[in-house]
């Protein structure tokens, strides 16, 4: 192939993926490393990349300590409750204590934050959420990152981490290709901050055909955060903790502002409140610590998201669907009606398009809700991701190995979806994690930990051959057939994605099986995944665009395999409403009040699983 090899050398901090996490990293790295070489490699265009590309209408993680609204530990307790206890509380506390400083800077950079006219404080949507006019959230934040970075490489699909040939388990940069020119890019760097995204489109989506792009999380979130780090041998945590969202049907428009600000509520097809009748049986499943409706009412603890999903799913299965969002009351107020529409236009335009197409005016009709296909990510109400070190002054020994947000691979850091055990970070928290990782990465370099890195020519050449192999496969076998996409030697990326989604749906608890799986199903699924992994060696790409899809699929595959392994390992149903282990339908604190940690062997591909202890923040008073 006639693609050039372009080497960018002597990088200190390489940011892979510049969504909110990556932009935070690039921005902050400049402060701690004013003379350091900071480079961004981004798959799309940094101005509109990542999950916030479209904009947001709220910042979902803001403490408001300046007005005495919340303390960081309050947020940790909330996230812990919502995730049924499974949170890295050191990381969560650390994010929460810094997150407000990110938001205050966003305001300074020109992001329009709404204000409460009476108090002058940011306008609250809920306890943690503030409302913004965030159509340009991403370009505003990208501008800060661009001012900090020495170079921004847009349209580089990073496929692998480069590893140090001098020292085992140390990162040395990353490689990928330019999706416009096709050229091979090698980034030699002392540290890498992985800000790549979580995974949409690994479970079969409810939408079909042309609509398959209408997924809740962005279709370009290809699980690369996990694919890249798993491939580099980093330990992962909580990968079983996929998330299912209750959203407006088909368009997946957000419901947060509707529930919290517009005070809309749900009811079943008969117009009845339905959630509470499922709670007694749920309490049986998960125990009173997690769902104590009377106590919860008194303590103002929110009902965990997964348990509300459980009620939704069961009500529909009982034949009393659809579930409606009752908007007809709130939307009589023209101001609230306008907010309802702005909310979509600011972050999910497709929902506005759908209502316009179907003549659904929420003022006169209560729109339908649905539960989505599952997603694997680490910044919304779930915490999949890499097993990372916490901060020195907070973390217990098991959670600390020298540098904040560093994975178990030396010099490889994470931010946003990449970091495991830190749910409810959202946009502002992901940006904050990027900042924390950047400071730690600079310290790692200043401490001399990145000395003597060697990258052999062989490694660079091997990756090059590997990256372009799908195009070679296409060239070799294409003309064996007359035309079309059916070939006995290869599958194309779309065919591969369909196969992956079907396996994930049927064996790993997708919407098609009502989120149910068990040990037998998971083992069958893993066998099929192994064969699929072999077939991925025979994937073909007709052009550079398909090569991009081929590598996205490989990252989705590695993510999915990890989800299978983790789901098999945790023999309990920790999050009813996200997924069910039919062979262990109860929450089991005796055996599974732990974080799951996995490692995929770089050479053999074998998985090892372990349990890691869970530490909780306890107030002095409570003791």
């Amino acid at each position: 192939m006639g693609y050039k090899t372009i080497i960018e050398d002597n990088i200190d901090v390489l940011v892979v993926g510049a969504g909110l996490g990556g932009t935070g990293a690039a921005f902050e790295a400049r402060y701690w490393g004013q003379n350091k070489k900071i480079v961004i490699a981004e798959k799309a265009n940094i101005d509109r990349s990542g999950a916030v590309a479209q904009g947001l209408y709220a910042i979902n993680c803001y403490m408001g300590t300046r007005w005495g609204e919340n303390n960081p530990e309050d947020h940790v307790r909330y996230a812990r409750m919502d995730l049924m206890g499974m949170v890295r509380e050191d990381l969560a506390f650390d994010m929460a204590r810094h997150v407000d400083s990110a938001v205050h800077q966003f305001e300074e950079w020109g992001l329009p934050l709404m204000k409460d006219p009476d108090t002058g404080h940011y306008l609250r949507e809920g306890r943690w959420q503030i409302m913004i006019h965030g159509e340009s959230y991403k370009p505003i934040v990208a501008e800060a990152a661009k001012k900090s970075a020495d170079k921004v490489f847009n349209r580089i699909c990073v496929t692998h981490m480069l590893m140090d040939d001098a020292k085992e388990n140390r990162v040395a940069g990353a490689v990928g290709f330019n999706v416009r020119t096709g050229n091979y890019h090698v980034f030699k760097s002392k540290t890498v901050i992985c800000g790549a995204g979580g995974a949409s489109n690994i479970f079969k989506p409810r939408s079909v055909g042309e609509g398959a792009g209408r997924v809740w999380y962005a279709p370009w979130s290809s699980g690369s955060a996990y694919g890249l780090m798993i491939d580099a041998g980093a330990k992962m945590t909580q990968m079983e903790n996929r998330i299912v969202l209750a959203r407006f049907k088909d368009g997946y428009g957000p419901v947060g502002a509707y529930f919290l600000h517009l005070k809309t509520y749900t009811q079943n097809g008969l117009g009845e409140e339905y959630e509470s009748k499922w709670f007694p049986a749920l309490t049986e499943m998960v125990g009173k610590e997690y769902l104590d409706t009377e106590g919860q009412h008194l303590s103002h603890k929110p009902i965990p998201t997964c348990l509300r999903n459980h009620a939704f799913i069961n009500e529909v299965n009982a034949g009393r669907g659809p579930i409606h969002m009752v908007t007809m009351e709130a939307f009589q107020d023209p101001h609230l009606e306008e907010i309802g529409w702005h909310n979509f236009l600011g972050m999910t335009v497709g929902q506005a398009v759908l209502w316009a197409a179907t003549d659904v005016d929420p003022k006169y009709e209560n729109p339908e809700l649905t539960t989505s296909e599952p997603y694997v990510m680490g910044s919304h109400a779930t915490g999949c991701g890499a097993w990372c070190s916490g901060p020195e002054d907070v973390s217990p020994d098991e959670y600390f190995w020298g540098y904040n947000r560093m994975t178990t691979v030396e010099g490889l850091f994470g931010a946003g979806d990449a970091v495991g055990g830190t749910p409810h970070a959202f946009s502002s928290g992901s940006f904050t994690e990027g900042r924390l990782a950047a400071k730690a990465a600079c310290k790692y370099i200043d401490d001399g930990k990145a000395e003597g890195i060697k990258v052999s020519e062989q490694q660079i050449a091997d990756f090059k051959a590997k990256i372009y192999k799908p195009m070679e496969t296409y060239k070799v076998y294409r003309n064996e057939i007359v035309a079309g996409s059916v070939n006995p030697h290869y599958i194309n990326p779309r065919q591969g994605l369909d196969r992956l989604q079907k396996m994930m749906d049927e064996y790993c608890g997708g919407f098609g099986v009502n989120y149910m799986t068990n040990e037998k199903l998971l083992q069958i699924g893993l066998r099929k995944m192994k064969v699929f992994g072999e077939d991925l060696e025979s994937i073909a790409a007709e052009d550079i665009h398909e090569l991009l899809r081929a590598w996205e699929l490989k990252h989705r595959y590695l993510t999915s395999e990890s989800v299978f392994q983790h789901t098999l390992f945790r023999k309990e149903t920790r999050w009813p409403g996200y997924y069910y282990r039919g062979d262990a339908m109860k929450l089991d604190d005796e055996n599974w009040h732990v974080l799951t940690v996995s490692q995929r062997d770089r050479k053999t591909g074998e998985y090892t699983m372990e349990k890691a202890p869970l530490y909780h923040l306890v107030g002095d008073a409570e003791e």
């Binding site: 530990e73 992001l111 329009p112 997924v215 279709p219 497709g350 003549d359 909780h616």
Partner: protein, 160 residues
């Protein structure tokens, strides 16, 4: 809802190709104009619609669930700092115009150049503080929260 491009308005400038997060807006080699090469990987994010200098790109709801005959159009203006939307229903009964700010500052002027700010002291390097902290955490003289300052400990086991 996949985007599509009007033949007579597109001049093939490539702004949409440059911005699309999903890499699906490409230039047709024969017609020298842009089109959506992979509608089922389109998130209807409107990045290309907003970037098009000729309003040549529009959206037609996903064929699997959205009937024809609707319209959601947008004009984003960085100089004015606004975004203007118009939503038209299929049945013609609703025709809404909505306007929102996108920035409070002249574009690109609010963000600092951190290579030019005073370098952090070694004391700050060895602390848990980030740029602009502790000031920006609470916008007063208070310090960063720690386990100690907030009377907390991390304890292994089941605690709620």
């Amino acid at each position: 809802m996949p985007t599509f491009v009007y033949m007579t308005r597109c001049d093939g400038c490539g702004e949409c190709v440059d911005i699309c997060p999903s890499d699906i807006m490409h230039i047709d080699k024969t017609l020298r104009r842009a089109y959506n090469i992979e509608p089922n990987m389109c998130w209807e994010c409107y990045s290309c619609v907003k970037a098009c200098p000729h309003q040549a790109i529009d959206v037609r709801g996903y064929a699997d669930f959205a009937p024809l005959g609707h319209s959601v159009r947008v004009i984003r203006d960085e100089e004015k700092g606004t975004i203007a939307w118009r939503i038209k229903f299929r049945n013609g009964k609703k025709d809404m115009e909505l306007l929102a700010p996108i920035t409070t500052k002249p574009w690109g002027t609010g963000q600092p150049k951190l290579s030019e700010v005073a370098a952090p002291s070694s004391e700050m390097r060895n602390s848990e503080l980030l740029y602009n902290e502790p000031k920006y955490v609470r916008m007063d003289d208070g310090g960063l929260h720690t386990l100690e300052s907030n009377g907390l400990t991390l304890k292994e086991g089941v605690y709620y």
